[in-house]
């Protein structure tokens, strides 16, 4: 009797452990950092004098965001994504919306990723008129006015594209970039210059890193079950 109970519980334990492991077996991770060597160009100061509301928001001077070199020698706002290796696979579109905010007459975030048909929520946190002028090459160009503080607009992209430029015609220094992909395997480097792409199925992939000024770089990586691969990119200034 005891033997029976014991064998059953041991089996169940083994099964659950195996199950636990197997769920991890489908989750590879690619991490790394994007370092920056050389001399970063001095950021230009933005003059917001044309719109007093914008100028009033910033006590300190504001600088352009095209090259943001972090203190630890890495590069911010690099869009890292899986370029090849996922052909033939489909992924459900994420339902959670991505937020693009216009705050202090700047776009936040400056670079972001979004899936095809994933809702993009555009918010105007400023008490001034902004317009969101998206210029995709694959989809139709759009230009939406946002005169009211706190108003939100929703948009969806129906075709993948690297990268869609957003600009504001009222405030010409404002721009943002969106990477539209059919899959959720992308990440943007932070203040530490690091990126992490999780839950990748096992396989061989080409990872691409995009920067708005320094172009693109690619690397090959093979991910196995439950493994973590580390790759690094380096952009030279």
């Amino acid at each position: 009797m005891i033997y029976r109970t014991l064998s059953v519980s041991v089996t169940m334990f083994c099964v659950s452990v195996a199950l636990g492991f197997s769920s991890q077996a489908l989750a590879g991770t690619v991490t790394g950092k994007v370092s920056f060597t050389g001399q970063a160009p001095t950021p230009q100061k933005i003059s917001m004098g044309a719109d007093p509301t914008c100028a009033a928001f910033h006590k300190e001077p504001v600088f352009t965001e095209d090259v943001v070199a972090n203190a630890n020698g890495t590069l911010k706002n690099v869009f890292v994504y899986v370029k090849e290796g996922l052909e033939g696979k489909t992924f459900p579109a994420a339902t959670q919306s991505v937020l693009l905010d216009q705050k202090g007459c700047r776009y936040t975030p400056h670079v972001f990723g979004i899936q095809v048909n994933q809702p993009l929520e555009i918010l105007n946190s400023d008490a001034t008129l902004h317009n969101v002028h998206g210029m995709p090459r694959e989809s139709k160009e759009f230009n939406l006015g946002m005169p009211i503080q706190g108003m939100k607009l929703n948009r969806k992209f129906d075709k993948p594209e690297i990268m869609v430029k957003f600009k504001c015609d009222v405030h010409p220094w404002m721009n943002a970039y969106a990477g539209v992909l059919t899959h959720p395997f992308f990440n943007v480097t932070s203040d530490q210059g690091a990126f992490e792409i999780k839950d990748l199925p096992a396989g061989s992939y080409v990872i691409e890193a995009w920067h708005e000024k320094y172009g693109v770089q690619t690397q090959q990586v093979t991910v196995d079950e439950a493994g973590t691969q580390t790759i690094d990119f380096n952009f030279a200034g």
Binding site: P52, L129, V132, N143, L144, P147, I148, L153, D169, V170
Partner: protein
């Protein structure tokens, strides 16, 4: 008994010869019959049948392959099953059928009885009413009784009828359900196999069989042959057979069998499908075959059914050789309307499409017309229908204020020496005037013309630039103010309407250039060049820049040597046409050398026809010197002087040769200097020659009756009048309009800085505003560098433009004015509040601070009430990106929803209307008020 009686003729011999002649005649008959029936077209038709059959067979194979065999099997099985069940149920069905027939009889009986009773009922009721009325109560009561007795009977009959009918329907449904299912499945099978069965029938039809052979046999083919001549009879058109005009009958389709059917695009000729069936031949197209025939557009002999006699024209020498070998082809000597070679076929479009500036879908013909206008062909050659054109060369009535005599002589020698892109052709020292004697006469003539022009032009007051200009600034101005809308400058060659701006330092003086660009019409009242409202400084800068470019080689050219003998000889030649030689000589002695030179110039201009392109004093009413070309496309080949030049004896060959090398037909001829051919050398490219020949071939004798031509409505005529003005002044050099993109857009990177797109302008702006804007342009978009020029239009031209824009946008003339009721105070306030909420003033500033980037700026809305149409403003506010894609004005009402939810119930349509009404009363004071409110209080 062989009685050797003498006979007139030998019976044996007679019989013999009779037999021979009989057999010969029989053979002759048979040969004739067979030769007569062995026609070329029958061969092609038989080939076509074979080709179609092969095609149908391959299609059949493909269809069979693509047939869903599995599904078909399934269906067939279910059909068999249903049939089986039906068979099993057969007895049941028969039983039901047996019940049905007597039931039907019962129903009929009941129905009839019911109707009878109803009639009795009506009759009784009539009598009852009558008797009641009459007061005969007794009789009335009788009928009353009858009525009351009958009613229940009628009711019961009705019920019985309904029951019986219900029963019958039930039984019929029961029957049907077996047969219906069968039918359904059969339908499905039919659908599935439809393509295959269709193709099978087709293939069957096209198979040769004995019956067809017999029907097509010689002597028997009068009954109902399968191979027969096909023809299209176009009743209202005539073919000219000299002395008789015969109804047009086109038998081309006898051999060209697949020409109007889709599916033969890859077939070998003559079966190939016609190109662009949606435009030609199909009954839904604007040129259906039954109404137009074939030869109307292609020429040729439609009555013929033979390859050679149909006057097919080969496309090239190679094809001519191929045809000669394969088909024993030779050109039809006595049929003058030969088929047009395919590369000139657009020439026929102009037969019906008259009165239009550009013939739709005929790019080569239109190019030819444009070239003819640009290079001034109509200056020498009269062409009916092109008389409303303009002189293409600059006016020479004031030329002494512009040019030096030396420059004119160097220019006339060879214009391309000064500027390779010039449109002025070369007149002197051409192939027939290159011998030494002619060269002397050329030089004398050139000097004479220069002398005449300098003496016979009126001076014009010139202004000097007040300060020295900066060449760099001048270059920027030239490239950014709008000169590129017509002129090519260096490598920026978006437009070629006016002369290329190069080497001007070798041609004109600063005074002249400065005066010219400030106000062109001051020097040349008829010029097409508009004024760009340049300030004195701008004009000075531009002058300095343009004069900085020189052509050293041209400047160092030695003026030609003028021999006095040549001058005298030429003068005498002209004088002796009116006077006797001695008198002429005497006259000549009286003239000074300058006077002789001037005389030579005057006569030369008269002879050479310079006034055809240039307005020259003294030649205001001179007649053009060239041959009239109104019907050149129909000209008899024998009337064209081929001279000793060995080219094909066709019109197109002659035209091509003439355009390439106009004087070549003088080759080998002995002619006096003034009898030689005069047409100048234009140096056309082969492509240009092709287009021009298409144009020339389009100038045909008009034999199309008016009702068959494409007649223009009044609106279309007004659009064409507008189009003529547009082509004269090159509006499309800057503006995208009427289907053509603005040429300068290709060299402007940021399209926000490009001249505005004018599509739909008639729907957008008010007519009165447009009229006055064209009369006197004022800036609308302050950020644009390019300036809208001032053209100094007449009233007629201004009205023509307004009509043109209106018609293009489909705007009907209306007299309702603004058509919106005046706004109440609340409405204006609502509009005002919305204006603030949407922060319109952020971009639509009335007085923008200088230095703001272009993306900030938008037109001043104070203009809106006079400029914009109220209906258009509504459409614009709803979604600007729909009205003008790419505009910087954002969409505020995405998906029809308003972001402002607390005004006018958040209703987007109401808000748009309120803002539109507010704009209609948006005065400068309002604008100032809003601007003041918009500034945040510090």
């Amino acid at each position: 008994m062989a009685d050797k009686t003498p006979s007139l003729y030998d019976l044996k011999k007679t019989t013999f010869w009779f037999a021979i002649s009989g057999i010969t005649l029989l053979i002759g008959l048979v040969v004739m019959v067979f030769q007569d029936s062995a026609r070329e077209w029958k061969h092609w038709q038989a080939k076509f049948v074979e080709y179609s059959r092969e095609k149908a067979e391959s299609e059949l194979q493909a269809a069979e392959k693509s047939l869903d065999e599995k599904k078909l099997e399934e269906l067939k099985q279910s059909l068999a099953q249903v049939k089986e069940t039906a068979l099993a149920r057969r007895q049941e069905m028969e039983a039901i059928q047996k019940e049905l027939d007597p039931l039907q009889l019962e129903i009929t009986k009941t129905k009839t009885r019911h109707q009878d009773l109803k009639q009795f009922h009506d009759s009784d009721r009539y009598f009852f009413e009558e008797y009641s009325e009459k007061g005969e109560a007794h009789k009335a009561a009788d009928y009353r009784k009858k009525l009351s007795e009958r009613e229940p009977e009628i009711l019961s009959l009705k019920t019985a009828l309904e029951n019986q009918e219900a029963l019958r329907d039930e039984k019929e449904i029961a029957l049907k359900q077996w047969t219906e299912k069968e039918k359904e499945i059969e339908q499905e099978i039919k659908k599935l196999t439809r393509d295959v069965t269709g193709l099978e029938t087709k293939v069957e039809k096209l198979k040769p069989n004995l019956a067809k052979e017999i029907l097509n046999a010689p002597m028997l083919d009068f009954m109902n042959p399968t191979l027969r001549i096909q023809q299209i009879v176009v009743e209202n058109l005539r073919d000219d057979y000299y002395f008789a005009k015969v109804e047009k009958v086109d038998r081309c389709v006898t051999c060209h069998l697949g020409i109007d059917q889709k599916g033969f695009e890859d077939a070998p000729q003559p079966f190939k499908t016609h190109s662009r069936l949606e435009l030609f031949l199909s009954s839904a197209s604007p040129h259906p075959a039954e109404e137009f025939g074939c030869t109307t557009c292609h020429g040729g002999s439609g009555h013929s059914v033979d390859f050679v006699t149909a006057a097919h024209t080969p496309r090239s020498e190679d094809q001519a050789r191929e045809w000669k070998k394969k088909y024993h082809w030779h050109p039809m000597k006595h049929w003058s309307e030969k088929m047009l070679p395919l590369n000139y076929v657009e020439a026929s479009c102009a037969k019906c499409h008259t009165g239009v500036v550009e013939v739709p879908q005929a790019p080569k013909l239109n190019e030819g017309r444009n070239l003819a206008q640009t290079f001034g062909c109509f200056g020498c050659h009269k062409v009916e229908g092109f008389g409303n054109r303009w002189k293409v060369g600059p006016e020479l009535t004031h030329v002494q204020s512009k040019l030096e005599s030396d420059w004119i002589t160097r220019w006339l020698e060879n214009p391309k020496d000064f500027r390779a892109s010039t449109k002025m052709p070369r007149i002197f020292h051409l192939s027939n005037t290159s011998d030494p004697e002619s060269v002397d006469k050329n030089n004398a003539t050139i000097a004479g013309i220069a002398a005449y022009l300098m003496k016979n032009s009126d001076p014009v007051a010139l202004e000097s630039p007040k300060a020295a200009g900066d060449a760099k600034e001048g270059e920027r101005l030239v490239k950014e103010t709008g000169c590129l809308g017509c002129h090519t400058v260096g490598s920026l060659a978006a437009n070629d309407h006016g002369p290329e701006l190069t080497n001007l330092g070798s041609k004109v003086k600063a005074d002249w250039l400065y005066t010219w660009i400030k106000n062109p019409k001051h020097y040349a009242p008829e010029t097409r060049m508009p004024s760009l409202r340049l300030t004195d400084e701008e004009a000075s800068h531009i002058t300095t820049y343009l004069l900085s470019q020189r052509n050293e080689k041209f400047e160092s050219k030695k003026p030609p040597l003028v021999k006095t003998e040549a001058v005298d000889e030429i003068s005498l030649t002209f004088m002796t046409s009116k006077l006797r030689f001695q008198e002429a000589k005497a006259e000549l002695e009286k003239m000074s050398p300058e006077a002789r030179l001037e005389y030579v110039g005057q006569q030369a201009i008269n002879q050479q026809g310079c006034f055809g392109c240039h307005a020259i004093k003294g030649f205001e009413n001179a007649k053009p010197i060239g041959t009239e070309l109104t019907e050149e496309g129909s000209k008899e080949i024998d009337r064209l002087d081929f001279g000793f030049v060995d080219i094909e004896r066709t019109r197109q060959a002659w035209f091509s040769q003439k355009l390439k090398e106009p004087r070549i037909f003088d080759h080998g001829k002995v002619k006096a200097y003034h009898e030689k051919l005069r047409m100048p050398q234009f140096d056309f490219t082969d492509e240009q020659v092709d287009s021009l020949v298409t144009f020339l071939l389009s100038l045909q004798k008009s034999e199309i009756p008016l009702e068959m031509k494409k007649s223009l409505t009044i609106k279309e005529n007004q659009i064409e009048a507008g189009r003529l003005l547009v082509s004269k002044l090159n509006c499309q050099g800057c503006h995208t309009l009427d289907g053509k993109e603005g040429s300068v857009r290709s060299i402007i990177e940021d399209k926000g800085n490009a001249p505005p797109i004018l599509n739909g302008e008639g729907k957008k702006v008010e007519e009165v505003w447009l009229y006055h804007f064209l009369e006197n342009p004022t800036p609308i978009r302050p950020w644009l560098q390019y300036r809208m020029p001032s053209f100094a239009f007449h009233e007629k031209e201004l009205s023509a433009f307004v009509q043109y824009f209106n018609h293009l946008a489909g705007v009907e003339p209306s007299y309702k004015g603004k058509g919106i009721p005046p706004s109440t105070l609340e409405e204006v306030e609502a509009g005002h509040k919305l204006f603030q909420a949407f922060q319109c003033i952020k971009c639509h500033k009335s007085n923008p601070e200088p230095g703001l980037s272009a993306s900030f700026l938008a037109p001043d809305l104070v203009m809106a009430k006079d400029r914009l149409r109220p209906e258009w403003i509504i459409d614009w506010l709803k979604d600007p990106q729909e009205v003008e894609p790419g505009t910087m004005m954002p969409t505020f009402f995405a998906e029809g929803k308003s972001p402002v939810t607390d005004m006018l119930e958040g209703d987007a349509a109401k808000q748009i209307k309120a803002m539109r009404d507010y704009l209609m009363v948006f005065t400068p004071e309002e604008a100032a008020r809003i601007t003041g409110e918009a500034k945040p209080s510090k």
